[in-house]
C-alpha cells in the first residue's frame, strides 16, 4: 500500500504528504516532550516526594516540601535577592542602553560601528568564565581593580568576600556583561522610527532634546515593555554568574533562587531532590507570574497606542 502511494505518479498525493508532515514534526514533538513537557509535569510529582538522590528510594509526602519552602528563610531570602537584582539592574540596563543606543544610532557619528562592537563583546563571552575571571579581576590583593584603587590612594576592598559588597559586585558585572544585548534591542527599536519624522521636525526648528521627547520617546513606549520583559527574563537566569563569582555567599548574601535549587539538588552533602523540585516549581510559577504581568502590560500599551 505504502509502496503504491510512493510510486503513484499523480493525484493520490494527499495521504503521502500528510504522513511526511508528521515525520517532520515528530523529532520536535519527541524531544520537546522529553526535555520540556515531561520535566514541567513531572516536577510537580517530584516536588511531593522525600527523595534523597538519584536511584535512591523515594516516599510520597504530599505538600510537605511546599510547607517547608514557605517557612524556609533561605528560600525567601533567595526570592528577595532575585527580586532585588531585577529591580536594581533592569532599570539601569534599560536607561543606560537606551542612552548608548541613541548616541550610536547616529549614522554620522564617527566609529559608531566599532563602538557598538566594543559594547557588545561581553555579551558573547561565556558567562561562567566571565564569573571566574571577575573573581580574579576583583581580587583584594592583586586584581587590577584594587590596583587602580591603590593608585588613587583608596583602601583595598574585598568585593566578593564581604557580604556588604558581594551582591553589588555581582550586579555590576551582570550589567556590564549584558548591557550590550539591551543596547541591540534598543537599536532595533530605534530603526522603526522613520527618519523623515526627524527631518520634518528639524525643519520646523525642533532641537535634539525636543525631537527626543516629542518623537523618539512616544514611539519607543511600546518597546519599553517588550525590552523590559526580555531583560527581566534574562536576569532571572543569573545562575552562571552567581555560582562562579560567589557560589551564593558570603553568608547567603548573593543566593539567588536557581543557585539555591542547584545546591539542594546536587551540591549539598545531603541532597534533597524532592525539595529542589518544589523550589523549581515555585520559581517556575514566579517566572510565569512575572512574564504574565509584563505581557498584560504589553497588551495594555499596545491597546492604548491603537486608541490614540
Amino acid at each position: 500500500m505504502a509502496a503504491t502511494i510512493a510510486h503513484a505518479p499523480g493525484p493520490p498525493r494527499g495521504r503521502r504528504v500528510s504522513r511526511w508532515v508528521y515525520v517532520f514534526v515528530l523529532p520536535t514533538l519527541v524531544l520537546f516532550g522529553m526535555y520540556t513537557i515531561w520535566p514541567s509535569v513531572s516536577s510537580i510529582f517530584y516536588s511531593m516526594l522525600e527523595w534523597r538522590g538519584l536511584g535512591v528510594d523515594r516516599t510520597f509526602t504530599g505538600l510537605a516540601n511546599y510547607e517547608r519552602a514557605f517557612s524556609d528563610p533561605l528560600f525567601w531570602g533567595s526570592v528577595r535577592v532575585t527580586v532585588l537584582v531585577i529591580v536594581v539592574t533592569v532599570p539601569i540596563r534599560l536607561a543606560a542602553a537606551l542612552l548608548l543606543a541613541i548616541m550610536l544610532n547616529n549614522p554620522r557619528l564617527p566609529l559608531a560601528r566599532l563602538l557598538r562592537t566594543a559594547f557588545f563583546i561581553p555579551v558573547v563571552a561565556t558567562t561562567a568564565i566571565v564569573g571566574i575571571v571577575m573573581g580574579f579581576v576583583l581580587d583584594p590583593s592583586s586584581g587590577p581593580v584594587n590596583a587602580a584603587l591603590e593608585l588613587v590612594g583608596m583602601p583595598a576592598v574585598d568585593f566578593l568576600g564581604s557580604s556588604d559588597t558581594a551582591l553589588s559586585s555581582v550586579m555590576v558585572v551582570h550589567v556590564w556583561k549584558w548591557l550590550g544585548i539591551t543596547m541591540i534591542y534598543w537599536l532595533a527599536a530605534l530603526q522603526t522610527v522613520p527618519v523623515d519624522l526627524y527631518e520634518a521636525a528639524a525643519i520646523d526648528g525642533a532641537g535634539a532634546w525636543r525631537r527626543f521627547t516629542h518623537i523618539t520617546m512616544p514611539l519607543l513606549v511600546p518597546f519599553v515593555v517588550i525590552i523590559g520583559m526580555l531583560t527581566v527574563v534574562e536576569t532571572m537566569q543569573i545562575f552562571d554568574l552567581v555560582l562562579t563569582m560567589t557560589g551564593g555567599g558570603p553568608f547567603f548574601s548573593t543566593l539567588v533562587t536557581e543557585v539555591y535549587i542547584y545546591q539542594q539538588a546536587f551540591a549539598a552533602s545531603n541532597p534533597n531532590l524532592g525539595y529542589a523540585a518544589a523550589l523549581g516549581v515555585l520559581f517556575g510559577v514566579f517566572t510565569v507570574l512575572v512574564v504574565g504581568v509584563m505581557l498584560l502590560l504589553v497588551r495594555l500599551v499596545r491597546g492604548k497606542g491603537a486608541d490614540a
Binding site: 520540556t36 568564565i129 530603526q191 542547584y262 523549581g280
Partner: protein
Amino acid sequence: MRAPVSRRTLRWLQTIVLSAVALAWIYPLLWILSASVKDATGIFGSGLSLWPESWQWENYSRAWDEAGFARYMVNSVLVTVGTVVIVVVRCAAAGYVIARYRFVGRRLIVGVLAATMFIPTGLFVVPVVELSDVLGLLNSHLGLILALAGGGHVAAVLLYAGFYAKVPKELEEAAVVDGAGFLRTFLRIMLPLSGPITATVVVLTFLATWNNFFLPLVFTFSTPQNRTLAVGMLAFQGTNSTDWSGLAAAASLSLLPILALFLVLQRYFVEGIAGAVKS
C-alpha cells in the same frame, strides 16, 4: 557657516568620550588576555598595565596539556556542533510543516511551544537529570547534546515558521509540477531559501550552547573527562586556585573561539538578537 563645523566637533567629542568608555568596557577582557602571557609576578606586580614584560607562552601549554583543556575544547566543540545540527534539523522541519500544512494537533503544538517559552532551567534540571539517568544517557556526550537540543529553542521554530509562512505557494506548486515530492520540495527549494534564517539559528544556538553552563555542569559530575570548557574552568579554579597565569590562559583559550566567531559573523548575531524585539 559656524554651526555645521561645531556640530561635527561635537560629534567627534562624543566619539572620544564613548571610545574611552568602550576601552574601559573591554578592559577586563584585555586584562585577562594579557595576564595569560605573564608570569605570576608579572600579574601581581604590573597593576593595570597590559603589556607583559616577558611573554610566558608556557601558561598555554600548561592549561592545554596538564589542566586538560585540550580535552575540554574537544568536548565543547562536539557538544556544540551536535546540538546545533539537531536544533537546525528539528526546528526547520517543524517550522516548515507548522507554517504550510494544517494537521491534527497543529494549534495545540503552537500553543504549547509559546506557553513554555520562558520556563527557567531551575524547573527543568531535576527531571532532566533523572530522565537522562534512567535512559542511561547521563554520563555521555549524546545525553548532554539531546538535553541541550531537545528542550526549548522555541524561538528557532517560530523563526522558521514565520519565514516559511511568507514563501509564495507558486514555488511549491511549480516544484510539484516538476515531479518533486514532499521531501525534495523541502530539501531542494524551501531549506535553501531559508538560508538567512538558518544562519541566524546556527549562530545563536552556537552561542547559547557554547556558553551553556548549568546542564554541562550537572551532566559531568561523575565524568570529569566529559567536561566542557566552562565546567572545566570551574574545576580548574577549584583545584589550582593559585595558578593565576594558568587560569588566565585557560580562560583565554575558552573565550577566544567564541569571540573570534562573533567578530567574523557579527551581522548574524546582531540581526538574530534584534529580531526578538521586532517580532
